[in-house]
Amino acid sequence: MTPSEQLPTTDHTRTDPAVETAAETTKDPSIAAGHSRRVFLFKLALAVNGLVGVVLAIPIVGYLLGPALKKTSGENSWINLGPLSDFPEGETRLVNYRNPITNEWDGQTGDIPCWVRRVSGDTFQVFAINCAHLGCPVRWFAQSKLFLCPCHGGAYYADGSRASGPPERGLFEYDHKVSNGTLMISAGRMPTLANEAKTVTPLTQINGSPAARLNAIDQPQPRCSSCQT
């Protein structure tokens, strides 16, 4: 088919205005008679559309707000940071872990660092990397025993308490525990002022002896990236 065949053969589309007005003036009176019925039907159709809108809005709003409505405790889980021998007493070290909730396409963003301070024996402090001011990554300086933030100069002492600068509080701390010779922290959500790293209630509530409880929690969890344990 050539392009010329696709075109209308003649240009009759331009309507004569005179014809239109003539048609209007000779309108069938019965058309006007049905006016109120058609207005009613139009309103009815609009109402049905409104109903459809409401029905559609429920899943859409739920979909949009989904990430906002999740409970913190549902996103934190216990993560193994490694054997105690990795953490010499009196030192503060940077440790990376894979966030418990990640997608395959999260790439490197799913790897989260944290500062582990072994005070002595089983006494640990695990600090979030995020400055309590605006979330920038704080760096540990062992010589001056300070955490310094590169963004706005927030400074924290070795125990995470606020030293100076714009932060209103000390570093965020993760809940942690020592079990079977390894250090574990409860993490999963980026700590912010609205959502401190610590969970209010323990994630897993299993009744029974403390030993049984620890054993139940400390089963090695699969570290695959997509399963949401």
Binding site: D11, T13, R14, L65, P67, A68, L69, K70, T72, E75, L94, N96, N99, I101, T102, N103, E104, W105, D106, G107, Q108, T109, G110, D111, I112, P113, I129, N130, H133, L134, G135, C136, P137, V138, R139, F141, Q143, S144, K145, L146, L148, P150, C151, H152, G153, A155, Y157, A158, A163, S164, P166, P167, E168, G188, R189, M190, T192, L193, A194, N195
Partner: protein, 499 residues
């Protein structure tokens, strides 16, 4: 040739018979505007529109290659920069286009404000313009996120931390912004949707309304001192002016718009060619913490404000100031819709613009060199000037070592090198006594951490001895007058008996 001309006219007529857009468009383009509106001051709005079109075109082209996933976005930008022919130029055009667009929208706004163009009957045009400014800034921020590098990653962290300060609903808002528990793939997808679909859609719709209203209400006539805007008479006066001095917008007035738009486009191209694309900086890997995140140019002022606000004021200022600022801009034409337009009779307007421009300029300038940030590697990279080690005792030289090792240089400069967070130490002994220095080092205070736990007594002694030798250009050492009296026995009553 006449045959060809005849042919093209026929084709035009074929489309025109069906579309019917040609005649009204030509009529609109040639509509009469007051001759005094054909000014070089009135070219910024059209220039912003032209850059918006440039951004859409370059944006679509970038989207052909960009991979909007957290694991691949950064790599796809590297691919664009190095493997796609002229990909770097496209990125540079889009990046510089965004900077020019923000700048021109701001200039346009200032011009409209100073020329009183927001007054009756153009109040709504101004209000829509306020939203266009916010949307433009939204495009700038979301675009910076799509560059998904280290700065983008930590910039999102800053955004989330700001949102988390919202009372009551801070937590859910952070979840809504990040699309998950951490900054990750879902976050990037959200910002991609915002940058590519949501905000451009709103921007185009509002630009359409904005331009429509300019056409409907006419271009703001050149303000004259003493010619007041009255709602009852303005439109009649404007139409009289239009009738008396009217010239066709195209080409008599529009040639200036076209010339300026071309100049701006050339400037964008020149910047893109000369400076190249922005970033990407390091990979968006949160485990690489050796980074000093910084926002793009137009958000540097905010970055600086956040460094200087006292901690207790930060949250209120963060949420009350934007509401007041945006509210004031929206209410402006409603509260001052009549009266004087000329800038020489509106000192308050000049004052507002000057104060805002100076503050934004100063904060932006501070943001370019972040004096509040410790310089993380100053303690290993900047040596103590040799002059400060001459004729010093071994103890004092040991103190210089302590100063280096304890990272004092990260915040304090000596010999012009080191951090700017704390005061320079070159003349510290000229205004602090030994006792005061000891107290300051051990207990901190005044925005300095306490070093009592990080220094043993011998280190403290050595450090303070060294610091007391730092007296600038041989200033007199600071002395404690009361100590002088104490050393000379009890204060003699004779000195006070005169009173």
């Amino acid at each position: 040739m006449p045959d060809l001309k005849q042919r093209s006219l026929e084709v035009y007529n074929w489309f025109e018979a069906r579309l019917g857009l040609g005649a009204p468009l030509i009529e609109t383009a040639e509509h009469e505007v007051p001759a005094n509106t054909a000014s070089w001051w009135y070219v910024f709005g059209s220039a912003a529109t032209v850059i918006l079109i440039l951004q859409i075109l370059t944006g679509v082209l970038l989207a052909l290659v960009y991979a909007p996933t957290a694991s691949n976005a950064w790599n796809s930008l590297q691919f664009l920069d190095h493997n796609v022919k002229l990909g770097w130029f496209l990125r540079a055009m889009h990046g510089w286009g965004s900077d020019f667009m923000v700048a021109i929208v701001l200039i346009h706004m200032v011009q409209v404000f100073l020329f009183g163009a927001y007054k009756f009957p153009r109040e709504l045009t101004w209000i829509i313009g306020v939203f266009l400014l916010l949307l433009t800034l939204g495009m700038a921020f979301t675009g910076q996120v799509l560059r998904f590098d280290q700065d983008a990653y930590w910039g999102l962290g800053i955004g989330a931390s700001i949102l988390s300060r919202v009372p009551l609903i801070g937590g859910p808002l952070v979840g809504l912004m990040l699309g998950g528990p951490i900054i990750a793939g879902n976050t990037l997808s959200r910002f991609f949707a915002l940058h590519v679909f949501v905000i451009p859609g709103m921007l185009l719709g509002l630009v359409g309304l904005h331009v429509w209203m300019v056409l409907r209400l006419g271009i703001n006539d050149w303000p004259m001192p003493g010619r007041l805007v009255k709602k009852s008479t303005y439109q009649r006066e404007y139409h009289e002016l239009e009738k008396k001095t009217g010239i066709p917008f195209v080409p008599d007035a529009a040639w200036k718009d076209a010339a300026f738009a071309a100049a701006i486009m050339l400037a964008v191209i020149a910047c893109a060619l000369w400076f190249g694309p922005f970033g990407p900086s390091g990979q968006p890997d949160p485990t690489i913490i050796e980074t000093a995140p910084k926002p793009d140019y137009f958000f540097l002022w905010l970055y600086a404000v956040l460094a200087y606000l006292p901690p207790a004021l930060e949250t209120p200022v963060l949420f009350i100031m934007p509401v007041l600022g945006i509210g004031a801009m929206i209410l402006l034409p409603l509260l001052s819709g009549e009266g004087e337009k000329h800038v020489s009779r509106r000192p308050a307007a000049v004052l507002i613009v000057s104060v805002l421009a100076v503050s934004l300029g100063v904060f932006t300038h501070l943001g370019t060199y972040t004096p509040w940030s410790p310089i993380m590697n100053a303690w290993t990279s900047d040596p103590i000037p040799v002059a400060y080690l001459h004729n010093r005792t071994p103890l004092e030289r040991e103190g210089a070592l302590v100063l280096q090792n304890k990272q004092c240089r990260n915040c304090h400069s000596i010999g012009g090198e080191g951090g700017l967070r704390g005061p320079a130490l070159d003349a510290v002994a000229g205004h602090m006594t030994e006792d005061q220095i000891i107290r300051q080092v051990l207990q901190g205070g005044g925005n300095m951490p306490a070093y009592g736990n990080a220094l043993n007594p011998s280190e403290t002694t050595a450090l303070v001895k060294f610091l007391t030798t730092l007296r600038g250009n041989d200033l007199q050492p600071a002395i404690d007058a009361s100590r002088h009296l104490a050393l000379n026995g009890e204060a003699t009553p004779a000195t006070t008996s005169g009173h």
